[in-house]
């Protein structure tokens, strides 16, 4: 049984996440430039996250008449904290910062805080468009949460453990993506959805002038946007231990494999994002509940039968 990383890991984790986030934002800017037919040079794109962060840091904060500053502040702060807490069960290499026995459920519980966070930010700003954004996220959340949970459960059933390191250990031979492709796809979709990003960006959409974030200025905006990217990165990184064999792989050390695979998942998400428009709530909700949920249940059933056939429950 593997153990948790030493305490140093908990300092390393935010730094690592931020570094990967930086890379993801850069890649996103480059991909956006290419999609727009107006290429952004790599150097410009690489400086972009820092520059935007600085811009928001020196920016003034805003408060609104009769807005609920407390709830808005709490909501904004919860987003990055939830992302970090979700990431503590991520094996960096083969060992996570905290190797929780119910790690998968923990991950799920932490990312669900995004529901509360986005809704609170949308509500607290006292602005109609913000509130519409907040409500959109809850509607979206109700749609992705079930397929997402079933995808997580499928991986847990495959490994017969809720411990993330056990799931990684179970994939020494065969990656779970091979035996549970439906769960993998559902998971990737919900990764983008929980970070209200890309095709699921309606809660902060352009049609509602930035939605939940419409009234955020200065450091409030920085925290919210950083939290959103961190959530995306943490969730995308979770796909690696759950479905892509974690740190297993030839030649490279485990941590390198985790990094490479995480970047690959993010690259796939970024590339996909610029090929497709945003999905509207009413379309996604029905699809998610009528198609995706049954599909993931069927996937879980198949994997369960396979697990039983291979010698039953340990």
């Amino acid at each position: 049984m593997s153990v948790a990383l030493p305490l140093g890991g908990s300092v390393l984790l935010p730094a690592l996440l931020l570094a990967v986030t930086w890379a993801a934002v850069t890649a996103d800017a480059v991909a956006a430039g290419r999609a727009a037919g107006r290429p952004v040079p790599w150097t410009v794109a690489a400086a972009l996250p820092g520059r935007e962060a600085l811009r928001l840091l020196v920016g003034q904060r805003r408060r609104g008449v009769a807005s609920d500053e407390l709830l808005r502040g709490v909501g904004g702060a919860v987003l990055p904290i939830a992302a970090l807490l979700a990431a503590v069960v991520l094996p960096l290499g083969l060992r996570p910062v905290a190797d929780l026995g119910a790690g998968i459920v923990w991950f799920n519980a932490m990312e669900v805080f995004a529901w509360a966070a986005v809704w609170l930010v949308g509500w607290g700003a006292n602005s109609t468009l913000s509130l519409i954004g907040g409500y959109r996220f809850v509607a979206q959340g109700l749609a992705w949460e079930l397929p997402h949970m079933f995808a997580l459960i499928t991986a847990a059933v495959g490994a017969q453990s809720l411990r993330v390191t056990d799931v990684v250990a179970a994939q020494q031979g065969l990656w779970f993506v091979v035996i549970m492709p439906v769960a993998f796809v559902a998971f990737l979709l919900s990764v983008a959805a929980m970070a209200f990003w890309g095709p699921f960006g309606a809660p902060v959409g352009r049609d509602i002038a930035g939605g939940a974030a419409a009234e955020l200025g200065g450091v409030d905006r920085l925290v919210f946007m950083t939290g959103r990217w961190l959530l995306l990165v943490a969730a995308a990184a979770m796909a690696v231990p759950l479905f892509l064999g974690g740190g297993h792989g030839p030649w490279l050390p485990a941590w390198a494999w985790v990094l490479v695979k995480t970047l690959a998942v993010l690259a796939a998400l970024v590339a996909l994002r610029h090929r497709i428009p945003t999905i509207r709530m009413e379309r996604w909700t029905e699809f998610s509940l009528v198609v995706l949920t049954p599909a993931t249940i069927a996937q879980a059933l198949v994997v369960t039968l396979v697990a039983l056939g291979e010698g039953g429950l340990r």
């Binding site: 904060r61 609104g64 006292n126 509130l131 090929r275 497709i276 379309r283």
Partner: protein, 368 residues
């Protein structure tokens, strides 16, 4: 101090720009957008996200009031520019950077008592003008729409902390008694026709009543219009941007700029236009998104395709048919019962030309 200066300088390198203009400023807006894109700057979504506020053309009194309200909510460091003609664009944007980097000026100019935005509708900011009407009757001669304010149901609204209006209650489209909120949409919203304001009654995010009008219609006759091809592309770019398909939207915008300001040959523009149209037609996800009505038909998608097609015809030099002008009453009727995202798309597709609003507000169009 030096550190602050340095930070400010780096931060000002890539500002977010919010462009506000009344009717007839489409060409100037295109010019500013083109320049913003060329510099790899960003178009801001809302006042909160704005560093540089660019006021284009000669805003009338109503729009000027809106601009002042919006400006009051833009966080420092910030710069406000007035751009009256195309020659000023480049220098104005250069100046904006200088202003953004000027620490003493920013300190002096920052809104002191904290930034306050005020009504639920904020990113548009148009509502404040209603207040101006209520408080200050001297304003009333300047526009031709007092009847709206008078006829609007502010009566019975309860006064709340901060002078905000309580929502009132009414039946929604499913017959449930729900809160109604009176919100003006525009004239400051991303991807929104210049100078348009739609006063809507919202229930949740469903539009219960709508009444559109253009602000500052005084010099309607002098209004400059974009050439048909550019106008169609501009409108198509808005639709695509509202579908959050940024790449094709930016391409449509780039083609618009190429038609307006030159930069690539007509043959190349046509080729790229065909390419764009093929991509739009082939995207199943876009079809799925925009689908409405019967048998997978999508009025929105067809309208979008028509726009691209007419842009092509006009750009190729063929006469092309003149754009069908939708009147505001028809737009209002379409908006009633639409969910917010759908409503934004409907407005973008309709892209109404500046025209006087209906004289008699018809009540209860939502009851049908």
């Amino acid at each position: 101090m030096d550190l602050r200066n340095a930070l400010l300088r780096v931060a000002a390198r890539r500002p977010h720009v919010l462009i506000i203009g009344g009717i007839g400023t489409d060409r100037l807006r295109a010019r500013v957008e083109h320049e913003v894109d060329r510099r790899h700057w960003t178009n801001a979504m809302a006042p909160a996200d704005t560093d540089v506020l660019v006021v284009i053309g000669h805003p009338g009194p109503e729009l000027r009031a809106v601009v002042d309200d919006v400006w009051a909510t833009v966080p420092a460091p910030r710069a406000r520019l007035d751009v009256r003609n195309e020659h000023e664009v480049t220098t104005a944007l250069d100046d904006a950077v200088t202003v953004l980097q000027d620490l003493p000026a920013q300190r002096a100019g920052a809104p002191r008592d904290g930034l306050r935005w005020d009504r639920p509708s904020d990113p548009s900011g148009a509502h404040d003008h209603h207040d101006a009407h209520d408080d200050d009757t001297s304003h009333e001669q300047d526009t031709g729409h007092e009847d709206h304010d008078g006829g609007h149901h502010h009566g019975g609204d309860m006064e709340l902390p901060g002078g905000l209006a309580m929502a009132d209650l009414g039946e929604d489209r499913d017959g449930l008694a729900l809160d109604q909120l009176h919100v003006p949409l525009g004239p400051v919203l991303p991807e929104w026709p210049s100078g348009l304001v739609v006063d809507v009654v919202l229930q949740g995010d469903v539009i219960h009543e709508a009444r559109s009008r253009f602000v500052d219609l005084d010099d309607l006759d002098a209004t400059e219009r974009l050439p048909d091809a550019a106008r169609a592309l501009d409108s198509a770019a808005r639709v695509l941007a509202l579908a959050c398909w940024e790449g094709p939207s930016a391409r449509a915008r780039g083609l618009r700029d190429a038609l307006l300001f030159g930069g690539s040959s007509t043959a190349r523009v046509l080729e790229e236009l065909d390419d764009l149209r093929r991509r739009v037609r082939r995207s199943r996800l876009l079809r799925w998104m925009l689908r409405s009505g019967e048998a997978g038909r999508s009025e929105l998608l067809e309208a979008l395709d028509d726009k691209l097609l007419s842009a092509r015809a006009a750009a190729a030099g063929g006469g092309g048919e003149a754009p069908v002008a939708i009147d505001l009453a028809a737009l209002d009727a379409r908006l009633v019962g639409a969910e917010f995202a759908a409503a934004r798309l409907i407005v973008a597709v309709a892209d109404p030309l500046p025209q006087p609003a209906r004289t008699r507000p018809t009540e209860q169009e939502g009851a049908s």
